[in-house]
């Protein structure tokens, strides 16, 4: 088994997340550094997009990673590491939403809304070069559009983009069946496409 020094010698790409987590569980702190570097951005943005409050996102972000640290001895490879990590994040998020009761986060809702209103985006159907430039600027708003998605669809979209999870892994991370995960992701894409159809 390579040592920490080996891991630091630019070989981090050769180790899978699962191997790194096992190494961390075996006491190799350097393995955690690599894991953290790989996933910190995705987890952070996943929480940030869902909560839309940086301070709150940071609090939960820290909590998610500390849960992972505390679970290092019990970690076993059952699926992709990212699926496990984002399941922790998902559970932490759901706990938070439930605990907050009537807080605005709850207003996000955590059920699939069948009749979601279409996303609203400033409309300029003109196809002039100026309009295209403007559209490019509007694309900057994709993040806002994502944040405006219904929570379940947003989560599916974020897991797909931030964690690079496929439909099966999204289903596993969020505790729903494959078809539900698939339709959530599809609805999310549909909405974003419609929201940006004049600009893509």
């Amino acid at each position: 088994m390579p040592t920490s020094a080996t891991l630091h010698a630019g070989m981090d790409e050769s180790f899978s997340d699962e191997e790194l987590m096992l190494r961390y569980g075996a006491g190799d702190a350097a393995a955690f550094d690599i894991l953290y570097a790989r996933h910190k951005g995705g987890v952070y943005r996943y929480l940030l997009r869902q909560l839309r409050e940086p301070a709150l996102a940071e609090e939960l972000f820290q909590d998610v990673w500390l849960r992972l640290v505390n679970a290092r001895d019990r970690y076993t490879v059952q699926a992709r590491f990212a699926t496990w990590l984002y399941r922790i994040a998902h559970n932490r998020l759901v706990d938070h939403v439930r605990r907050r009761g009537n807080h605005e986060v709850v207003s996000l809702g955590w059920n699939d809304a069948e009749e979601d209103p279409p996303l609203q985006i400033a409309d300029d159907p003109a196809r002039t070069p100026e309009a295209r430039q403007w559209a490019g600027q509007q694309l900057e708003r994709i993040v806002e559009l994502v944040e405006a998605l219904p929570p379940a669809q947003r989560e599916a979209f974020l897991l797909h983009h931030e964690a690079d999870l496929g439909v099966d892994a999204i289903a596993e991370a969020t505790g729903v069946n494959r078809e539900t995960a698939k339709s959530r992701l599809r609805y999310a894409f549909d909405k974003l496409r419609r929201g940006l159809e004049d600009y893509l």
């Binding site: 191997e19 961390y24 006491g27 702190a29 952070y44 993040v143 496409r193």
Partner: protein
């Protein structure tokens, strides 16, 4: 949703690209530092720190006790084996003395011995079915007969302090032993009869086995128990069960027909069933292969089988690492529950 969906991978790709290029927030550096520090602190105590500290107290006494126990068991086993070896040697000496006496007896006495040993029926042309049944009996009996020499050899180890005499010359005459030896039973009789008749050329190995057969036949049950551990599973009834010893049967049967004094038809009859038995052996082998089937087919299954082997060998870390590589290679493959359970840490 009532709206018609319009799947467009290209536009989905653009959406993804647009999102990825515009979504780049990262946690503050202070937060990174706090989390990394906590992770390093936790790892500082080594994984399963509690277990480790506990095991430090328990490891040395436990290891010592285990070594003592294993050593004691080995000593007892070796002593027992030595005793068995001595007894086997005594029996061997006694049996060879008896055989020497039998050999010194007039030569014409041999054919009656054959007859006495249940081969009397063979003087008349036997029906093929009978011969086959006899061959099966022989082969059924010969399976355990092949093992005793190993036990006898094992008992001749230096620890045993005795050596089973393997006289080169009396070996052929030893084959007479079953006829005169006090051990009753088919096992001794069947080969005995065949061997006596087989005054023609006999392979040296076969001769040696035949010579050693009578001794272990009397070997104590303890030796038999030890042998059983190394021996293949007992044959089940039926022709397939005969299969493993079929070549043996043909080897033994062949010389039976060889002597010119022996009746020619009998030779043919005996050899024909032997061929049957061999045929049955091949068929049985095929049948076994068919029933066993290819246990592992796909690379994934082969890999998982290796992981199971690692688990079985107690190499849990290796198994985990191998599974990690497996998950990386086959991210969509559902890891079997038995492997997950096996690698789950005991709480």
């Amino acid at each position: 949703m009532s709206e018609a969906r319009n799947d467009d991978p290209r536009r989905d790709g653009e959406i993804s690209a647009a999102y990825r290029t515009r979504s780049a927030e990262t946690p503050p550096a202070g937060l990174d530092a706090r989390i990394l520090a906590a992770a390093h602190r936790a790892a500082g105590g080594r994984p399963g720190g509690r277990k480790h500290r506990w095991s430090r107290w328990i490891d040395a006494p436990f290891a010592t006790a285990a070594v003592v126990l294993v050593s004691a068991t080995l000593i007892v086993l070796m002593r027992e084996e030595g005793m068995l070896g001595q007894r086997a040697a005594k029996e061997a000496k006694r049996a060879s003395a008896t055989q020497e006496r039998a050999v010194q007896a007039p030569v014409p006495a041999a054919p009656p011995a054959v007859i006495e040993n249940g081969a009397a029926d063979m003087s008349r042309p036997a029906a093929p079915a009978e011969v086959r049944a006899r061959a099966e009996e022989e082969t059924g009996a010969s399976a355990p007969q092949r093992e005793p020499p190993a036990a006898a050899n094992a008992s001749s180890s230096p620890k045993g302090g005795t050596a089973v005499p393997a006289p080169p010359e009396p070996q052929r005459h030893d084959a007479l032993a079953p006829a005169t030896a006090p051990i009753p039973g088919e096992r001794a009789q069947a080969p005995g009869g065949v061997s006596v008749e087989g005054s023609g050329p006999m392979p040296p190995l076969e001769k040696r086995e035949a010579a050693l057969e009578p001794f272990p036949a009397e070997a104590p049950a303890a030796a038999a128990t030890i042998r059983q551990q190394a021996a293949p599973p007992a044959a089940t009834p039926g022709r397939a069960a005969v299969m493993p010893s079929a070549p043996d049967a043909s080897l033994r049967a062949a010389p039976a027909g060889a002597p010119p004094r022996a009746a020619a038809p009998r030779s043919a009859e005996v050899q024909a069933p032997a061929a049957d038995v061999e045929e049955a052996g091949t068929a049985g082998k095929l049948a076994r292969e068919k029933t066993a089937g290819p246990a592992v087919q796909t690379p994934e299954e082969r890999w998982l089988a290796e992981i199971r082997e690692l688990v079985r060998a107690g190499k849990f870390t290796d198994a985990q690492l191998s599974l990690a590589r497996f998950v990386r290679a086959y991210p969509d493959y559902r890891v079997p529950a038995d492997i997950i359970d096996a690698l789950k840490p005991a709480d």
